[in-house]
Assembly symmetry: C2
Homo-oligomer: 212 residues x 2
C-alpha cells in the first residue's frame, strides 16, 4: 500500500506493528499513542478510529508480543519434530525445545518479553492465538501419550514447568543472578530441574556430567 494516501487502508494492523517495534526497542514505556501514530504515518487522532483508547491499543500490542513468544516455541518444537530417534525421547526433546525457546526469546527480546507480561490497563479483545500456555499443555499431553510423563504428575506439570521457565526468563532478563552464573548453564540447569521435578527421562545429549 502506498504511504501517501489519505486513507491508510490498514491502520489497525499498522499501529499494532508499530507498537511491536516500539516495544521491542523500549518496552511497555515506549508504547505511546503519538509515537505509534507517527510511525504509521498518521495523525494522533486517527488512532481513535481503530481503538477506543491507548490502554486498549497497548493491551493488543502486549497480546501480539505473547503470540510472538508462542510462535517461537512452536517453531522450535517443529524443528525437533523432524529429527530422527525414539518417539518418547522426541517428545521430551520437544518439551526441552519449547522451554529453551521461551527463555531465549526473553533473552533475545527482553523489552518485548516485558511487554508481553506487562500489567495492562485493559483486557485483550480476544484470547492469545497461538497461546504459549497451550503449547506447553500440548507438549505435556504428548509426553503422557508416549508414556514419558506419569499421569499422576500431569496436573501439576504445567505449573512447575511454567514457573521455572518463566521465572528463569525474568531472572535473566533483569540480571538478578550473581555474575558467576552464565546464562547458558542456567538454562540447562533449569530445564534439567524441570525434568527432575516431572520425573521425565533426560535425553542422552542432555545428561549433566557429574550430577548424581
Amino acid at each position: 500500500m502506498p504511504a501517501d494516501r489519505y486513507h491508510h487502508g490498514n491502520l489497525h494492523t499498522a499501529l499494532l506493528e508499530a507498537g511491536l517495534n516500539a516495544a521491542r526497542a523500549g518496552g511497555p514505556a515506549a508504547l505511546q499513542l503519538r509515537d505509534l501514530a507517527a510511525a504509521s504515518g498518521v495523525s494522533p487522532s486517527a488512532v481513535y478510529r481503530h481503538f477506543p483508547d491507548m490502554a486498549h491499543l497497548s493491551a493488543e500490542v502486549s497480546r501480539s508480543a505473547r503470540e510472538a513468544l508462542a510462535r517461537a516455541m512452536l517453531a522450535a518444537a517443529a524443528k525437533v519434530a523432524e529429527e530422527p530417534g525414539d518417539i518418547g525421547i522426541g517428545a521430551i526433546r520437544r518439551l526441552h525445545a519449547i522451554g529453551r525457546a521461551y527463555i531465549e526469546f526473553a533473552l533475545r527480546e527482553p523489552q518485548l518479553f516485558d511487554t508481553a507480561f506487562m500489567s495492562a490497563g485493559a483486557p485483550p479483545s480476544c484470547a492469545d492465538d497461538p497461546s504459549a500456555w497451550d503449547v506447553l499443555i500440548g507438549a505435556l499431553d504428548d509426553l503422557v501419550a508416549n508414556g514419558e510423563l506419569h499421569p499422576s504428575r500431569r496436573h501439576d506439570a504445567p505449573l512447575i514447568a511454567w514457573s521455572a521457565v518463566h521465572g528463569l526468563s525474568g531472572v535473566l532478563v533483569r540480571a538478578m543472578l550473581p555474575p558467576s552464573y552464565q546464562s547458558e548453564e542456567a538454562i540447562i540447569a533449569t530445564l534439567a530441574g524441570v525434568r527432575e521435578a516431572l520425573r521425565v527421562r533426560h535425553p542422552p545429549e542432555l545428561v549433566v556430567r557429574g550430577v548424581t
Copy 2:
C-alpha cells in the same frame, strides 16, 4: 518528631517510607516525587536535598521493598527453627518456609513485589540488607551441612529454587494461570517440584498424596 517544624529532621527516611506506602498501594507507577513529598509534609523541591533525582529515590524504595521481602523470609525461617524434630528435616522445612514466605509476600503485597523487581533508572546506593538471595544461599548451605543436599547439586540449586519460586510468584501475581489452579495447591506443587529437582527429602507433612 513534630510535623510542623521547618526542618523535618528525618526527611530521607520519611521519603523512603512514603515511597513504600505508595508502592504498596499503587506499584512502581505510584512512585511520584510530588506525592512522596506531600506525604512527608514537605514541598517537592525539598526532595533534592536528599536524593539527586527521582530515579535514585525510586531505586532506594525498590531496594527497601526487596529487603522487606528478605525479612519476611528470615522471619519464616526463624519460626521453623524453633520447632522440634530431626535436624535434617528441620533444614528442609526452613527451605520450604523461605520459599513459601517469598510467594506469600508476593500474594499479600503484589504491588510491592512488582516494585521490588521493577527496572529502575538508577542503581541502588548499596547492596540489599538483608538479601533474599543470601537467605536462600544460607538455607542451601544448611542443607549441605546436614547431608540433605548432595554437594554436586549445590551449584545449580539456588538457580532452580529461585527460578521456580520467583516465577510462580510472578505467575500468581499476574493471574496468568487458568482459574482451575488454586494458589495454595500451586504453592505446594511448586515447592515440592523444587525438592524433587534438588533431590531433597520431603518432610512427612508435605508428601503429596497419590503422586508416585
